[in-house]
């Protein structure tokens, strides 16, 4: 696989099929998931978190994740990511062929026990076993292993989460052998100053190459303001969800990923290349609406439409209204 950043400035990692679908009641048929993933990849999305290897009893919406990973692997150029709650999940993800696996560690230990039913020590044990498993895989076939720092900006159960605790957990994950850590505002508590401070703090502790992405929610309408901070500090990978569906079912009141459509419009209008064709992306919404008709789809840009005369970068535009 060529470098996923070739020709783009910012990688958008679509998490709707995982974070979106896990938080809605509707179960999307497997074929519809495949069509959704294919359509987003066709629109230029290069990374999709297609599911989570949790027990089907807990999240029946994602019971077909193995099949979805296998299918997504057949789409050329697509980086296939999956969430894994533990070693068992990682085994299954690797078996199915995921390019990237993320194990979430809730920095708030209360949330960790509610969400993963594990203490920090227990989660770190799983990390250790996963790293050992990956060591047995031949170079070239190894998945990229990310330790996700959930509730990094605050927790609906514990409230304040200290930056030093987040940095300590980042250090532990890297020391155990994670290729990378990810920052997640699981609860929609983040503000732009905090985003910058935390990224810089983690970089200072574990190195800049060990943190490139952030998972933001729009729970309090601050999603794209936080994206600005992420861009400003120099992150280049942003999670978002088509139609803004999703959130965390285990953190009460913490719904709402940032909306892929509005994020792509933001970046494109600023002259940052994402490789995504916004018109094609907007068209994917109908796939989603047909497959889960009972679920609300969000998005300001889809509602308002593109500005009159707007030309996307993929079609030769160079940002909107600049330098003239």
């Amino acid at each position: 696989m060529t470098d996923i950043m070739d020709g783009i400035d910012i990688l958008i990692s679509e998490v709707g099929p995982r974070d979106g679908l896990q938080s809605v009641d509707s179960i999307m048929p497997t074929d519809a998931k495949k069509a959704w993933i294919k359509a987003e990849a066709d629109a230029g999305v290069r990374e999709i978190e297609v599911g989570s290897f949790v027990p089907p009893k807990l999240l029946p919406q994602l019971a077909d994740t193995g099949e979805i990973v296998e299918y997504a692997r057949t789409i050329p150029g697509l980086q296939v990511a999956a969430l894994v709650p533990n070693f068992k999940g990682a085994e299954n993800a690797i078996k199915a062929g995921a390019h990237k696996i993320t194990l979430p560690l809730s920095v708030s230990e209360t949330h960790s026990q509610a969400n993963l039913r594990k203490t920090h020590a227990q989660v770190l044990e799983e990390v250790e076993k996963i790293v050992a498993l990956i060591k047995t895989i031949p170079e070239g076939d190894k998945p990229h292993f990310e330790g996700g720092l959930s509730t990094a900006f605050g927790c609906t159960l514990e409230g304040h989460v200290s930056q030093s605790k987040v940095i300590e957990m980042a250090e532990k994950l890297v020391a155990l052998g994670c290729d990378e850590v990810g920052l997640a505002d699981t609860t929609g508590y983040a503000n732009p100053v905090q985003v910058k401070e935390l990224v810089i703090g983690i970089w200072a502790a574990v190195g800049r190459d060990k943190l490139t992405g952030i998972h933001l929610h729009n729970t309090r309408g601050q999603g794209l303001a936080n994206v600005m901070a992420a861009l400003d500090v120099g992150l280049d990978t942003l999670d978002s969800s088509l139609g803004g569906i999703g959130g965390c079912p285990f953190a009460p009141g913490a719904s709402g990923n940032i909306i892929t459509e509005d994020l792509v419009f933001l970046l494109d209008s600023m002259g940052l290349k994402t490789g995504i064709d916004l018109e094609k992306l907007l068209a994917v919404r109908s796939t989603l609406a047909e497959a889960i008709p009972k679920e609300a789809l969000y998005g300001f840009t889809p509602d308002a439409g593109l500005p009159k005369g707007y030309v996307q970068m993929v079609n030769g535009g160079a940002g909107w209204g600049r330098g003239d």
Copy 2:
């Protein structure tokens, strides 16, 4: 009146009673408007655009603007702003006692003709007459006169609006004697790069003290991302609307001021002082909901509530989750 910026970093100018009410069908009773303005001032809002001196035939929702300005003037410490479409409106605003009057000039001439029914030359003539009128007023009683640059980031009728045209109009307004110009994203077309470029361009042309504020819409969900750019470049006055009501009835599809509640949360969480008590501000929504029950109120922070354990700056907080 003491300096309006004393003890705060950012001035929030509430425009709901003008930009909000002008774009909804409901007519808010005069007493409800007074209660709304009083309650926002009590929550710490220091500037409110309370109405527009347009003919009541055009905007019956704002027919009581004269009475509202007179009432708002009795609230200690509140800067009372009003929109004026022409010389006649400015005369009435000054008679009623407005501290600040804003005459909007649509940089898109097509929009100017649709919105104000005037060419640029005709608008500038009105500006000249208003400046002459203000010259006759004794020092200390003179209102602050702002020329508002509408459709500065693009127009729903013309599409692209060039930065050089915006700067040219800013120069003309200042040359004629406006105390200041204001930037307005009437159509929700702005992006953060454009915000920075345009502010810097106008500053270079007319001086930094001649542009301090921006009026942003959230039509495409980019409102707070654009606020980040405004803060970054150094603007210190931001327009917003409680409950996000409002927009421009003459620019099709261009609805939606940024939401005061979400904006205050953003600034407060970043450690920027606004002087506004967010809990009190959130309580004002019920006044609005009771007075215009048919109109939708927006706001993510009001829906989600403040983060667990969050302490506002006015109550001794220092931003959320920082430096620890």
